[in-house]
Symmetry: C2
Subunit: 413 residues, 2 copies
């Protein structure tokens, strides 16, 4: 959680902020609503190192399988992503994912195996390939370095997201300014091991594919894999990073200070991306952060934090601004971790204040009005002090509202 | 799932149906609403064999700890249970649970260690002991064998349950009629390993404590532990059985035909109890049954069935009568079980019909209107054929509705 944040600055823009990247986004026709873009492209002007992390679901989308294969050699140059259809559980899914890569390769003059392909949307409905094939040359023609082009791409990957999610940061290393940009989409089905969550990151750092993968895997474990909206893990998740290397001559090829600086900045932007996903969870009215502190070990602390953030009863209590801390103890109790329940303190924290509600596993007398005020804010931290070690973990999630039920009760209509 | 059902008959009544049992229920004052009973008692006229199964939550209620201790010797004679307060996470919880047992023992002229004590309600609020101590002699005076007395007890243990849940069955063995009665409460926080689920079973079978515990543990694994409302596992769950032995001279002390007959009848009544709990889950409009058939092994089939029944996305789809079978594949995929996704068939079944929606892991063309009609029924079976073995498992749950959110958004008010 600790950033060398003095060295990291947020800037405007998204995936086109780093040197060497262009993007575009359009409505190709997968969605009925013509105002909603549904196809996004990112293109790197030079060969890039690439890394990726994918869903752990045994049922995974065809584009996940194809992209996993395509990035194996450590190099890639383009991203193509559609919303509106997940291309999952279809008998022709792989054929269509390959056809998409082929069309991108032809339009951009690159190898088919240098294309990252991704889809998000409904599962089990055959992907209409014609609008995609017709759209790809149009997208290629519209590729641009502008913030607007990045924004077009960021909006094209949205499903039930209510806000586009794009970020950019810069940091300094060896006198060079290095940039990282990212766009992502989330909403429902967001849980450990990646969920319907797509993240596309670009950077102009110079780094080997191996070290890039190491950095991404390290950061994902503490960021995207600690986000939960509803406990469902999607079939389509992926987060990829393309690194153009244009910002510096020296290539990161070991865990040196330059790697650490990149890791910090990557963690910073991934944290921004995943809190944006949690805050914009389907039907969410509140961003919840569960901090489990002072536990024996990190894996245990992570499981405890996730158990709290994923409890429907905790989520509904937070929606109702109800300081029902017993549900937090309960969620800690069934996390499958050996805990000393007689040591646990629980606090609710928001910008309206901080309130202790449970001490040593027992109720601590508190002012209900003050608790209500604190829990009525939009960003709430559930602070759990295990008083049983020195390790900590943080998980992000959101409340459970009527709106979640409405959105998911008839998603396909 | 197979009962020797010709030998098992449902009858009227509940915990007083078997020979040797009386019950009572009253409003003692834990709840503000005077029309809502909040304290229940069951009394056995003779010494009983006893067995119990308890929550696996590391945070568990004081009455769970006390009852676990009290039944260790295999014998008990009474149940006392309050609703309105869970007596969990309170510093004086054990003292009050012991004081409750002492008062019951005095009122009934039995040993304190022969009392099963249980609580259900909000966690972390000190239990008001005075209304309970004042109510116990009143309850003792009202003990009766009538159906009405059993019903008073069954309604007194309800929390957000909308219906009382009591059942009784008889079966024949060696020319004797043997009776089993049961009452339970469920609603929110119902999940594997017991949830806020209380079940009190009585029977007049003659059985040793060891064999009774064996029968209960066997049956619970396929019934109460396969019910899920919201994935939260409560701090207060318990299911106990008291066996008076008054129906026969021969005592079951091995796994003979008499044990098997009892096991069948116990499984039958527990299935009735837990489907009633699932159908009456907080805010539920539909009872969902997930049947995972033809898998390699039972533990795997159980995990798969629970993963489907517990998915918020599946639950909301069922609420909306939306045949979104991709979410079912997705939930199977993240269950943590090694599965062959290319073999899976999925059908939706209700009294309106049966429809195949997924074959060999791919979408099967189906009539949306017919699917809607089938899914608009109140009892829906999600039938999953893994085509990869001969073992099966069944789990029960309910849909996720607006009402769940409303109930849990401000439970403590």
């Amino acid at each position: 959680m600790d950033f060398n944040s003095e060295n990291i600055k947020m800037t405007d823009g998204g995936v086109t902020a780093p040197l060497g990247f262009k993007a575009s986004g359009m409505h190709c026709g997968l969605r009925k609503n013509k105002a909603k873009k549904d196809l996004a492209m990112i293109f790197a002007e030079c060969d890039c190192s690439v890394a990726g992390v994918f869903t752990q679901n045994k049922v995974f989308a065809a584009p996940v399988g194809v992209t996993r294969e395509n990035i194996k050699n450590g190099h890639a140059r383009a991203v193509i992503c559609n919303s509106g259809n997940a291309n999952t559980c279809n008998s022709d899914g792989y054929d269509k994912a390959h056809a998409t890569c082929k069309a991108v390769a032809e339009a951009l003059g690159i190898e088919e195996s240098d294309v990252i392909v991704a889809s998000t949307g409904v599962i089990g409905v055959p992907l209409p390939i014609e609008p995609i094939l017709a759209g790809i040359p149009v997208l290629a023609g519209q590729l641009d370095r502008s913030f607007e082009a990045a924004e077009d791409a960021a909006t094209a990957i949205m499903t039930t997201d209510t806000k586009k999610k794009e970020f950019a940061v810069t940091y300094n290393c060896d006198g060079n300014v290095i940039r990282i940009g990212g766009m992502c989409k989330g909403s429902g089905m967001i849980e450990p091991n990646m969920a319907t969550m797509l993240g596309f990151i670009t950077t102009d750092v110079a780094i080997t594919p191996n070290m890039l993968q190491k950095a991404l895997s390290t950061v994902i474990a503490d960021t995207f894999n600690m986000v939960s909206v509803d406990g469902d893990t999607s079939t389509n998740d992926m987060v990829t990073v393309l690194a153009s290397g244009l910002a510096s001559d020296k290539v990161i090829d070991s865990e040196d200070y330059a790697y650490e600086a990149f890791l910090d900045a990557l963690r910073f932007i991934c944290t921004k991306m995943c809190t944006a996903i949690a805050a914009d969870g389907e039907g969410a009215t509140k961003l919840l952060t569960a901090d489990v502190r002072n536990f024996k070990d990190i894996p245990g602390a992570k499981k405890l934090a996730k158990s709290v953030i994923n409890s429907s009863l905790v989520k509904t209590a937070m929606y109702g601004a109800d300081a029902n801390w017993g549900r937090i103890l309960c969620a800690l109790g069934y996390a499958g971790i050996d805990i000393d329940t007689d040591k646990i303190d629980v606090r609710f924290i928001s910008k309206a204040g901080s309130i202790l509600v449970c001490e040593n596993g027992r109720g601590y007398p508190f002012d209900e009005d003050e608790a209500k005020k604190i829990l009525s804010e939009h960003k709430i931290t559930i602070d759990v002090d295990m008083k049983d070690g020195n390790e900590s973990a943080r998980a992000w999630g959101c409340d459970l509202s009527y709106e979640y039920v409405r959105i998911n009760g008839d998603y396909r209509s």
